[in-house]
């Protein structure tokens, strides 16, 4: 693992004060060639912490994530932006070990949830994925009834064992996902018969039905119309009261609407992290500025 970030990457220190990035010293942007992370990737008391994570595909052939260190705070929405293929999804899928399901995918480094290493040998991925829920880019409800879509998770995890408990969890989850009013009269209809936006909210309801602590969202609105997108953005703003959310998005507007912090990825490197407003108004890295001003990506 190459470690070219010794001088610049802010090491998490006791008081949380990182080393100053070079850009702040001379008032100029960090040059495109410098691929070290700019900004403060760590927070105090994080929900999830990623330290020096590298991801390879095809048994080491493709280096998809390069030495990324990034924290996810409690009750925050962290947005991940960057051009296509820069590794946003790959990074996100490390956080709930979905990359385990890909043959030839190797993850190294340390990822913790509330201080516990989620890649420790003893960790069982099923409860982990109940704790760290995921919403996918394309709405993917089960080809079963709306009710069954939501009740399935709580049932297999033993959170709702009888019909009335399941009814309850279905209702509360659908209400939280803002879908209850639209579907309450036909819960036995197929989930795949809903509109795209409704399907994605159903998937969110399915995710929160198992009471996760973290929700990962991979471009949840990329397949949706603006109205459905607005509904889901409102939903994210509400959900952040209870959950930590990491969201990948292609839309910088969306990132600025829903997130508190933003991380910019480029070709597998985490280039810049910072408060969303700062990243979009006064980026510190030349690559970030290129991206947000539309020079590429």
């Amino acid at each position: 693992m190459e470690t070219n970030n010794s001088g610049v990457e802010p090491e998490p220190t006791e008081d949380g004060a990182p080393e100053a990035a070079p850009a702040l010293k001379n008032g100029r942007l960090v040059s495109r060639e410098d691929r070290r992370t700019v900004g403060i990737p760590t927070v105090d008391n994080p929900r999830m912490r990623t330290e020096h994570v590298d991801v390879y595909y095809n048994y080491g052939e493709k280096h998809a994530i390069k030495d990324v260190t990034l924290d996810l705070a409690r009750n925050e929405v962290l947005a991940m932006i960057g051009p296509s293929g820069c590794g946003k999804s790959t990074y996100l899928r490390c956080l709930n070990r979905m990359n385990d399901t890909i043959d030839g995918c190797q993850v190294s480094g340390k990822i913790t949830l509330d201080g516990e290493d989620i890649y420790a040998p003893r960790v069982d991925v099923s409860p982990l994925r109940a704790q760290i829920g995921m919403v996918f880019q394309k709405p993917n409800p089960f080809p079963k009834s709306i009710w069954e879509n939501v009740a399935y998770g709580p049932r297999i995890h033993g959170l709702a064992t009888n019909r009335s408990e399941q009814d309850e969890v279905v209702e509360t989850s659908l209400k939280r996902a803002g879908l209850w009013e639209e579907v309450k009269d036909h819960l036995q209809d197929p989930g795949t018969g809903l509109s795209g936006g409704q399907q994605q909210r159903l998937c969110i309801a399915r995710t929160i039905a198992v009471s996760p602590e973290v929700i990962l969202m991979d471009e949840p609105c990329s397949a949706l119309d603006p109205i459905s997108t607005a509904v889901i953005e409102d939903l994210i703003n509400e959900l952040k009261e209870h959950y930590s959310i990491a969201i990948v998005t292609h839309s910088m507007q969306q990132a600025s609407r829903v997130s508190q912090r933003t991380a910019y990825f480029h070709l597998g490197d985490l280039i810049e992290v910072g408060p969303t407003e700062q990243v979009f108004t006064t980026p510190l890295h030349q690559l970030t500025e290129d991206y947000i001003t539309g020079r590429f990506g």
């Binding site: 709930n96 979905m98 399901t101 043959d103 991925v125 099923s126 409860p127 982990l128 994925r129 109940a130 829920g133 995921m134 996918f136 394309k138 993917n140 409800p141 089960f142 080809p143 079963k144 399935y152 998770g153 297999i156 995890h157 197929p190 989930g191 795949t192 018969g193 998937c203 399915r206 995710t207 198992v210």
Partner: protein, 428 residues
């Protein structure tokens, strides 16, 4: 670069070039349509030719000529053991009474031959069912001999020399008399559907072979479906991808192409000679056909599993289901229609399979209807093969009729497949 719609180099607008090409494109489309249509028409023509020839040859086997005789259930003949009494004598007596002027041993023997030897079984059955008929005279319809049947159905030419005919001039004359007196009648051939095989065509039936096929297919289904599906699930969902699983995959694909008689040889060597299982038994037939059907089912099931969208798997895993739960609750229900189709195709192949069963002795001449998995039995296609090999003219139409029964079974199986798919295939 040209601006849209503006003249290109040749003075032609791009859209004109596009439109100019349309004629060729339409022609290509029409040509392709004609190819497709003619392929369909040709295959339909072959199919209907096949069906028409089978049905036109076979439909007459569903009828059998019967002769009406006044049988006197003579107390003298029917004394002693009723099971072994000489019922043939009753038939002969009735015939002689019908034609009193037939004298001479030779003529009498020819006359008696008009009625099937199976008639005595019918009479015995009547007597055993109701002993009160002993001593009375009854009008009974008895099956005619197969040659009479063929003559009545017009399958024999009468304009050839007597020595080249199966029936003598006198026999033909008697048939005409019987027909004139309305004592000959073609009736529905119940025997064909209720009897086992026989050397006498009019006594031969399809039930023995059908039951043999039934038991054989039950064994095949019960073994090959669970084993095939389990193997497919393991290989597709759980097995690591390495050179061993690659090797297994290649071998399964090769097994599907192995000539079926090889499986028969294997069954002979392993099940009969090594394990000492009974010959000609549906159990062994089922085992052999299981070997033959497994690759088909495994390949179809794996294809069905592969076609389940990855997003469903991700959804299941993402919510924290274990791999087992993902497969059983989400993947399997979606793959089930494809698996069932593969299974039914495999079963249909097994139903029509002859060669491997010859090797394990299911080609034997078996009169009794099998009542279990270890009784000697034959199967429908082997029965067809046996009958097609028989010299009697009456077996020709029975062969075609048996083919019709086999086809009916195949169509029924396909219907079941479609219904099962409809049931499982809740596309939402």
């Amino acid at each position: 670069m040209n601006k849209p719609g503006q003249a290109a180099n040749g003075g032609q607008r791009p859209i004109d070039i596009v439109k100019g090409g349309m004629v060729r494109r339409h022609r290509a489309e029409r040509r392709f349509k004609i190819y497709g249509l003619s392929a369909i028409v040709l295959s339909l023509a072959f199919l209907s030719f096949l069906l028409i020839s089978i049905v036109s040859q076979g439909y007459s086997a569903f009828q059998q000529t019967y002769i009406k005789l006044e049988i006197n259930f003579d107390q003298n003949v029917l004394s002693g053991n009723l099971a072994t009494a000489n019922y043939q004598a009753l038939v002969k007596k009735a015939l002689y009474k019908l034609f009193p002027d037939v004298k001479g041993r030779g003529d009498k023997r020819h006359l008696a031959k008009l009625v099937s030897p199976g008639a005595s079984f019918d009479l015995r059955k009547m007597v055993l069912a109701d002993r009160h008929i002993i001593g009375t005279t009854r009008e009974v319809w008895l099956p005619a001999n197969d040659d009479v049947d063929m003559a009545v159905k017009g399958h024999y030419r009468r304009d050839v020399a007597e020595s080249e005919r199966r029936l003598t001039d006198k026999q033909l004359a008697w048939i005409d008399v019987l027909e004139h007196r309305q004592r000959l009648e073609k009736r529905f051939n119940v025997t064909f559907f209720t009897a086992g095989d026989s050397r006498e065509p009019e006594q031969a039936g399809i039930l023995g072979a059908a039951m043999g096929s039934f038991y054989t297919l039950i064994v095949t289904l019960v073994l090959s479906f669970p084993i095939g599906v389990a193997a497919a699930i393991y290989l597709e969902e759980f097995a690591p991808t390495n050179k061993w699983t690659d090797l297994i995959e290649v071998n399964i694909n090769n097994l599907a192409a192995v000539p079926s008689i090889v499986f028969g040889l294997l069954g002979l060597a392993v099940f009969l000679n090594f394990f000492g299982l009974p010959r000609s038994a549906p159990l062994v037939g089922g085992l052999v056909l299981t070997l033959m059907t497994l690759p088909t089912i495994i390949i179809a099931s794996r294809a069905a599993l592969k076609s389940v969208p990855p997003s469903i798997r991700e959804a299941a895993l993402g919510i924290g289901s274990s791999k087992m739960q993902m497969v059983l609750n989400h993947v399997l229900p979606l793959a089930m229609p494809g698996m069932l189709t593969g299974t039914i195709i495999g079963m249909a192949q097994a139903l029509g399979e002859t060669a491997p069963l010859l090797m394990i002795g299911m080609v034997a001449f078996i009169v009794d209807i099998p009542a279990g998995f270890t009784d000697p039995a034959t199967v429908l296609p082997v029965q067809i093969y046996l009958w097609a090999d028989s010299p009697e003219r009456a077996f020709v139409e029975r062969t075609s009729a048996a083919i019709m029964v086999l086809l009916a079974f195949l169509i029924a199986m396909n219907l079941v497949a479609i219904l099962l798919r409809k049931r499982f295939e809740r596309r939402w």
